[in-house]
Symmetry: C2
């Protein structure tokens, strides 16, 4: 297992995340086996001549990048010492939604911050838009993100200037958690002008990336990254986007993944709203006026069956008073459970909408109260 | 026939336009017969007791308004001397679209202005919205109306402050024609502050009403009037509308008449766009960014089959040069037709999109050129 994790970490240095050939190989072989193919140049049996040639060339390309890599045994460990951790498909924290990407699924993810990705991506929505946002767009993104965070929703965005930053900041102002998905190493987040913002995001939330520490962003990497933003959440809201904005690329990924696609309208005289109007008019996107519209659309999809809860989580839920709030330590006492188990259960219950934050700690939501 | 016209004119004084009982009676009897029923109190044979009682009460109510009316023989004639003319169902100028209103069809219409209602309502769109419009709404309405007028479309609106006025003015600035549908007599158009605007509209276009000359507007009459705005045109665009704007009532009429319903989005922070967003989100309305979006939606619906043209009109169309423009008198000479016939044919051809205005007078549109 550790060999597989290390292999996945190494692969991110050798091949670009989102590489379709590597994605296909990882769909058929263990990561360590793929790494051996790269090292040895030993080809698996591939039927067609052309496919065999493409594969051979790809293995050569990746092998050429091997010299100068950090010692492979230490990759995850080194990162960990910098406060960065690696998660791989199959890990408890790996978000199942990413598996919808099939062969385009990330090989692995590098995480910085104290949030839990599995918890965080439960009731969640991506909020994206133009870097060159208008005052209107920044205002709407900030308000909507704050409203959603206060109602227990997690906001995922790309950490860029403009709409992304407004969304992240709106969440942070409410004391909520948010996730920034980067197109570069989480140790050198881009843009540098957002260093403070990324620190704020990592404190309670997460800054994540498919690219290993040290990677620089490129134009192409932003586009590849966008599929992860779309896949991580229940749906994507474009707050403002010009006709050629990268946010439309994220929106298209959301649509391809059959995630609800949403857009905020704006003045038809504003070029920054042109992309949003295309989404609503021509792509079947839903017009969004604020947080309530997002919740109306997404909440019914996310409603979990109580039977899907694991026994620990169900026990914690049953320990909740019907109406008042309760603190974590009280729950640990009443359920006689380890505090870590209680925290994980609380995360799951919040992520699936059974409970929400309150002054005393946590309380049942209306949904959590009505559940049988 | 004249008796019928006079009867219809009189009925507008006795009953409120849009009265469902009078509408039902006019669906079964000639207007003159209905007038006789009112005068004599003689009931037609009605099966049910309740219906008979309602009908009797309605006839009584209408009869009580008979004293003090102008001499019935003179109604249309008097109006005509003030530059106001009466048109009735079946008249050449009566717009066939109004017949879609069934029993809610106007008894008659009073017209002021030099436009032709049959011509005018061919390629046409209603543009409505809030009185308390924002600068944004006024700007968009004016631009869109002007663009549509320049491309040969007729704009119908309600003559009110705000969006209505902006739409009418946008058309007039291009030298185009527009129609204002009022909820009061066309001799005392409301609001009085728009007297100059109404004079401008009547000069080339039309100011029309179901209410006879001298009638004052009421809150109720505006709502009744809205169905005529919706019925007269191929579709309705709401440019700006608060959540309780009368424009939403017009929009609802358009939807009930199965006319395409359109709305211009705006900032979600603007109460003046709330109604538009409801139309797009919840009523299935199409998001409109400008004139081109309106034409894209409506033009395919309005495309007439050449076989629908009458022989005179077809002869005038055939007399058009393939590419260059042509004047009215030239057409009269080449077709050897009366100038009135040519003018009427030109109106029909423009209304159905075969020809458009140009420096020389008229020229074929691309549609008119391609037609077999």
């Amino acid at each position: 297992m550790n060999a597989d994790r290390n292999a996945r970490a190494l692969l991110g240095y050798l091949a670009e995340p989102g590489d379709p050939i590597l994605g296909a190989l990882l769909g058929m072989y263990e990561a360590a086996e793929v790494l051996t193919m790269i090292k040895t140049g030993m080809l698996p049996s591939v039927p067609s001549g052309t496919a065999r040639e493409m594969l051979s060339r790809a293995l050569d390309r990746w092998r050429q990048r091997m010299p100068g890599l950090p010692p492979e045994q230490d990759l995850a460990g080194n990162a960990c010492r910098q406060g960065i951790r690696l998660i791989c498909p199959g890990d408890p924290e790996w978000p199942a939604r990413l598996d919808d990407l099939d062969q385009a699924r990330p090989y692995a993810l590098w995480l910085r911050g104290s949030g839990d990705l599995q918890f965080g991506s439960g009731r969640s929505v991506s909020m994206v838009g133009s870097r060159a946002a208008s005052g209107y767009g920044v205002h709407v993104a900030g308000e909507m993100a704050a409203d959603l965070a206060e109602r227990g929703w997690l906001i995922v965005s790309g950490g860029a200037y403009g709409i992304d930053a407004a969304a992240h900041r709106g969440v942070l102002l409410t004391g909520g958690t948010t996730i920034a998905v980067l197109a570069c190493g989480v140790d050198r987040p881009y843009p540098a002008g957002h260093d403070g913002l990324f620190a704020g995001i990592a404190d309670g939330g997460l800054v994540i990336s498919e690219w290993p520490p040290g990677s620089r962003p490129t134009r192409y990497r932003f586009l590849v990254r966008n599929r992860v933003i779309a896949a991580l959440t229940m749906g994507t809201v474009v707050v403002e986007a010009g006709r050629y904005s990268g946010a439309l690329n994220t929106a298209r990924h959301a649509a391809e993944l059959a995630r609800p696609l949403m857009a905020v309208p704006g003045p038809v005289t504003s070029v920054q709203s042109e992309g949003c109007h295309v989404i609503i008019r021509d792509w079947g996107g839903t017009l969004i006026r604020g947080a309530s519209d997002v919740i109306d659309l997404l909440a019914p999809i996310g409603e979990p069956a109580r039977e899907d809860l694991d026994p620990d989580t169900m026990r914690v839920l049953d320990a909740f008073p019907a109406r008042s709030g309760v603190g974590t330590s009280t729950l640990a006492r009443t359920t006689d459970a380890n505090i870590d188990v209680v925290l994980r259960s609380l995360g799951r219950l919040a992520a699936t909408g059974y409970i929400e934050r309150c002054a005393e700690g946590w309380r049942r939501t209306r949904n959590g109260t009505l559940s049988p």
